[in-house]
């Protein structure tokens, strides 16, 4: 039986799908902000703490989240936590799972950034009589932002794509809405190809915006493509 492609039925749903993309962006943003917060604490512990136990705890946290699939982590939060008396809605489970997962990766990124500040730089700042605040503001931050900006925007884009997993838990973001449309019109190939195109456009726009911010606000030298 030959399959005839029919885009006409699907094109009308473009606005609906873009609405889903907006939710995907929101989830990604919240998870990224949360992830950065956790990762900053983690990376500080890993880079500067002398407490061995604390460091071991943080490195196992990172190893755990980097070496297990995010889907399974959310499965665990969603299905296994109720057994321990913690009930999360699917939105909460997805958001928490993505936050925890990305925090593991971000810890590694931030730690590499922290390590890129050399001792000589800090000593030089001390010699100039800078206070800790001055040193952070004028020496460490400008340096770290330039080093960290490209990998962090990379992570952000990857996280935006990861949000498609939310559809598995019934959230109606871009992928979830694609499932809805495919159930309504039975034009599955067309719908999913169209969502693929939307994801490409979405992440490309996000990349371009991040690149522009990096280029003109932080003076980061990185290539777009």
């Amino acid at each position: 039986m030959a399959y005839t492609l029919q885009w006409g039925q699907v094109v009308g749903f473009t606005g609906y799908l873009i609405g889903g993309a907006w939710l995907a962006l929101q989830i990604a943003f919240l998870a990224f902000v949360g992830g950065i917060a956790i990762a900053t604490i983690n990376a500080t512990v890993l880079s500067y703490s002398k407490n061995r136990v604390l460091r071991a705890v943080v490195s196992s946290y990172v190893a755990f989240f980097m070496n297990t699939p995010v889907l399974v982590q959310i499965f665990f939060l969603f299905f296994a936590l109720p057994e321990m008396g913690v009930f999360l809605s699917s939105y909460q489970a997805v958001l928490l799972g993505l936050t925890l997962n990305v925090s593991g990766y971000l810890t590694e990124t931030l730690r590499a950034g922290f390590q890129s500040v050399s001792k000589a730089e800090i000593e030089a700042a001390e010699t100039l009589g800078m206070s800790v605040t001055q040193m952070t503001w004028y020496v460490i931050l400008p340096h770290i932002i330039r080093v960290l900006y490209p990998p962090l925007s990379n992570q952000y884009i990857l996280l935006t794509m990861t949000t498609s997993i939310a559809s598995i838990f019934g959230l109606e973001e871009l992928t979830g809405r694609a499932y809805n449309v495919s159930a309504e019109t039975f034009r599955s190939f067309e719908v999913f190809s169209m969502s693929a195109v939307l994801y490409v456009v979405l992440t490309f726009v996000a990349s371009a915006v991040l690149w522009l911010i990096g280029r003109y606000v932080f003076r980061v030298k990185a290539r777009l493509v």
Partner: protein
């Protein structure tokens, strides 16, 4: 609560359950290996045709950039659905394993092309000039000096990307491929505690992925990336 978990543990660790999970683990590993072997070969080809010293043809470059930019920007789940329905559109009936392996290969090709491109670009421009002045062709240059030098930049990120791919195969449980995650869902539905079924799943994935990541990191330290090499390329994998 904890009591009933402990009571269930011996039941959960029965021979049949372990065999069941082991079989699923085999499928996960097979998916990853088949997908990686095909995907990395295609990825290498894409990286070669993108490099203007190897093949100086702009259509080839456009094809290569287009392929990897597109497939790197589509989530694994969407790729999976597109591949799944694409087989239907062209009228081929294939197994879910083939669908997933194809998807893994697509992801692997797109990301590894990017990793290898960066590895080749890390080589100093003067070496290409030198080999050109000795009348070496692109393929000969790759074989004799380019790849022997750049593999040390390519290998560590490729390894950690492989870990990302292994983790991505968990998404194949969505189209009922009998791999690890699907097996754990089956156990969960059979009435075993989700803490045990999904907990053991986490442990199993960790057992496969952690050594690979550890080895990637050791390799990276040992091979000491030359300057100009990319940091953190495609680290999180093709989710």
């Amino acid at each position: 609560m904890g009591g009933s978990l402990l009571e269930q543990l011996p039941l959960f660790l029965s021979y049949s359950n372990i065999a069941f999970l082991a079989q699923a683990l085999g499928v996960t590993v097979a998916l990853s290996i088949v997908g990686c072997v095909i995907g990395y070969s295609v990825g290498a080809l894409l990286a070669f045709i993108r490099n203007r010293h190897v093949v100086d043809l702009w259509p080839a470059r456009v094809l290569s950039v287009g392929f990897s930019e597109t497939f790197r920007r589509v989530p694994f789940l969407i790729k999976l659905m597109v591949v799944f329905f694409a087989f239907e559109v062209v009228g081929l009936s294939v197994s879910m394993f083939t669908v997933t392996a194809t998807t893994v290969a697509l992801a692997a090709a797109a990301f590894s092309a990017e990793i290898m491109r960066a590895g080749l670009e890390a080589l100093p421009e003067g070496q290409w000039d030198a080999s050109e002045s000795m009348n070496m062709g692109g393929v000969m240059s790759l074989r004799l000096w380019a790849l022997p030098q750049s593999w040390r930049v390519i290998l560590p990120p490729a390894l950690s990307f492989t870990v990302g791919l292994i983790k991505s195969t968990s998404i194949a449980s969505q189209i009922s491929v009998f791999e690890l995650t699907y097996a754990a869902k089956v156990l969960d539905q059979k009435g075993f505690s989700p803490v045990l079924s999904f907990g053991s799943l986490l442990v199993l994935y960790f057992i496969i992925c952690y050594p690979l990541n550890l080895y990637a990191r050791r390799l990276e330290r040992k091979l000491e990336r030359p300057q100009g090499a990319p940091a953190m390329l495609a680290e999180a994998g093709a989710v």
